[in-house]
């Protein structure tokens, strides 16, 4: 028998019991749909996070106080003086620019409007290191720093919420924790992301933040260092130089653990990727369970079908069907059930993922689901494989029936 004939016959027999075939297919649709939706959303989250990390700035190193991997006593905080020293090419030749930040939350108000925003106290080079673009006005300067000026650069979300507009805001005076600050610049919208929006920030001079808004226990203490390496190739060198130099300044003996942690953009991206990989596997696994349930549904229905059609099988054998003919017939039916389910499921999963993406975007998070030809091919093949796998037992049962017994069955 040719393949076309086998498929036509299988379709005919599935068509003979539309409701049953339909319900079985729905099981597969849900299974495959869930897998596709979860995988594409997972990949979407991954690529969105990776993009986010890459948009932090180029050739970037980030230094935090403390060490996550080893226990360190008497952690010495990072200081402004560390930054000044790192900016000296004599100490760290691979470092282009280093800036320090102080972070916190601040209550900002203008007129009747107010809100809580993340505050960054920093210096003029921060704009370069973090690739911040200014659409209106200017970024902080060294004069603002020296003068402990009450000036602020704000993100477009802040402007939108406080002034109800995202232009012509320079020169306005807002209150940060009750103290007046003059708006001198507006940053370009970067869009929200999985790591929080970059658009609802308020940036003030480090000196102003330290004296008016944020308190730290030690003199000159800062929270995070952002360091830009001179070029792509020297990121690792820069990281080594920073580590070596900070160990020296913090007087850490050879063999003892760092009391700070240096992340490269790459290492952060790797870490995020390994986390999102776990997420994808987990989501895919949960969705895979529904695929398994769909497969069991197919097996169940095929078993019922074999029992119902025992006489037919007996007749076919009496008329000369080999074991393999019967096996092929039933396997084709179960493979078709799951393949149809799989194809519809791919559409459903795609719709689902796009829907979730749209919802997430309206909620301010950018997750655009990623569909690859690979994942679609994989889902198609996998669903056919599920059909064949769960069809083997019923089909084998059908093929092994004794013609005499099967013909006598009623």
């Amino acid at each position: 028998m040719n393949i076309g004939g086998v498929i036509m016959e299988a379709l005919e027999s599935l068509n003979a019991n539309k409701l049953r075939s339909g319900l079985t297919i729905i099981g597969m649709v849900i299974g495959v749909g869930a897998v596709i939706a979860m995988l594409s959303l997972g990949e979407g989250v991954q690529s969105s996070i990776t993009g986010e990390i890459n948009s932090l700035g180029s050739n970037l190193l980030i230094v935090f106080s403390g060490n996550d991997e080893e226990e360190v006593r008497n952690v010495e905080p990072l200081k402004e003086a560390d930054v000044e020293a790192l900016n000296d090419p004599f100490n760290a030749p691979s470092v282009d620019k280093a800036v320090a930040t102080l972070g916190g939350n601040v209550e900002a108000s203008y007129g009747g409007e107010s809100g809580s925003y993340s505050l960054t106290g920093t210096t003029a080079d921060y704009a370069d290191v973090r690739s911040i673009e200014i659409t209106e006005g200017e970024f902080l300067t060294d004069e603002h720093q020296l003068g402990v000026a009450s000036v602020a650069v704000i993100g477009p979300d802040v402007a939108q919420q406080l002034f109800d507009r995202t232009e012509d805001v320079v020169g306005e005076t807002i209150r940060l924790d009750g103290q007046p600050f003059r708006v001198i610049g507006l940053t370009k919208a970067k869009g929200g992301g999985a790591m929080g929006s970059e658009d609802d920030i308020i940036i003030v001079p480090m000196s102003s933040a330290r004296t008016r808004l944020v308190t730290r226990s030690e003199y000159g203490q800062v929270d995070v260092l952002f360091i830009q390496a001179v070029d792509d190739d020297s990121v690792q060198e820069a990281s080594d130089e920073v580590s070596e130099y900070l160990r020296e300044r913090h007087r850490i003996d050879t063999g003892e653990a760092d009391d700070f942690t240096v992340y490269t953009q790459e290492s952060v991206a790797e870490m995020a990727e390994s986390i999102t990989n776990v997420l994808i596997i987990f989501l895919g696994g949960v969705a895979g369970i529904s695929l398994l349930v769909g497969g069991i549904g197919i097996m169940n229905i095929m078993l019922v079908s074999v029992t119902e059609r025992t006489r037919e099988i007996g007749l076919r054998k009496a008329l000369g069907a080999h074991k393999s003919h019967i096996l092929t017939q039933f396997l084709t039916e179960s493979a078709l059930l799951s393949l149809i389910g799989g194809l519809v499921g791919i559409l459903l999963g795609w719709g689902l993922a796009v829907g979730v993406g749209i919802y997430a975007e309206s909620a301010g998070t950018d997750i655009s689901p990623v569909f690859t030809a690979n994942s679609i091919l994989l889902a198609t093949l996998f669903s056919a494989a599920v059909g064949i796998f769960f069809g083997i037992y019923p089909a084998n049962r059908a093929a092994s029936l004794e013609p005499v017994e099967a013909l006598r069955h009623d």
Partner: protein
């Protein structure tokens, strides 16, 4: 017309029913010539069905020799048996056993599909077979749209379509009213007389037996009479 189509030598078949061994056939021997019309008769439990299953190559004897159209059947595999059935045996069952979803034509093509015959030839031969049983105008009807007698005609057409050596009919009129039954008997007699088909009818109805040239009577798994 004197060549032997079936040689049965000391056919025995026993089953285990629980712990007891039941001898359904206890040693039966006979020959059937090509072109014969005969019936196998006997009370229920006499071994009629068992003998029919062996003659139709649906099952193998426990011991004994069975030669069908020159081929030793006794020690073949299931798939080899299936090929023999496909080429050499045509079946007509009491309950027709048609595929209810398929048209008369598709039902008749079924044995040819397993014989690996091309689509076009299958349809051509099935059409001719249906015409020869008087159903040339109903080839696209489904079994549910046909009367009992017409359904049995489709079954006869299906049985003949691969030009088998023997046609096995198991109570072919058992599910039919007397008029349709008469028609089917006439069809079988005509096939035997005009086309020389070897017809073996298994029945417990003496009237049908009386219409055949030879009656093999079984009792308790043994040949009671052969005339």
């Amino acid at each position: 017309m004197s060549d032997v189509v079936i040689e049965a030598r000391d056919l025995r078949k026993s089953y285990l029913m629980g712990e007891i061994e039941v001898h359904a056939l206890a040693g039966v021997s006979f020959d059937i010539q090509r072109g014969e019309l005969l019936s196998i008769m006997g009370p229920s439990g006499a071994g009629k069905s068992t003998l029919m299953n062996i003659l139709g190559c649906l099952s193998l004897p426990t011991s004994g020799d069975f030669i069908l159209d020159g081929e030793h059947v006794s020690d073949l595999t299931q798939d080899e048996l299936a090929d023999i059935r496909n080429r050499k045996v045509g079946f007509v069952f009491q309950s027709f056993n048609l595929l209810s979803r398929s048209s008369a034509l598709a039902n008749v093509t079924l044995p040819m599909r397993y014989a690996g015959i091309s689509n076009a030839e299958r349809n051509e031969r099935a059409r001719k077979a249906l015409e020869s049983v008087g159903l040339g105008d109903r080839i696209y009807h489904k079994p549910t749209e046909l009367s009992g007698g017409q359904q049995q005609r489709v079954a006869v057409a299906r049985a003949l379509v691969n030009n088998p050596a023997i046609l096995m009919a198991d109570e072919p009129t058992g599910n039919l009213d007397s008029k349709s039954g008469r028609d089917i008997m006439d069809l079988l007699l005509e096939l035997n007389r005009d086309k020389g088909v070897t017809v073996i009818i298994v029945t417990h109805d003496p009237e049908i037996g009386a219409e055949t040239d030879r009656i093999i009577r079984l009792k308790d798994g043994l040949l009671e009479s052969d005339a």
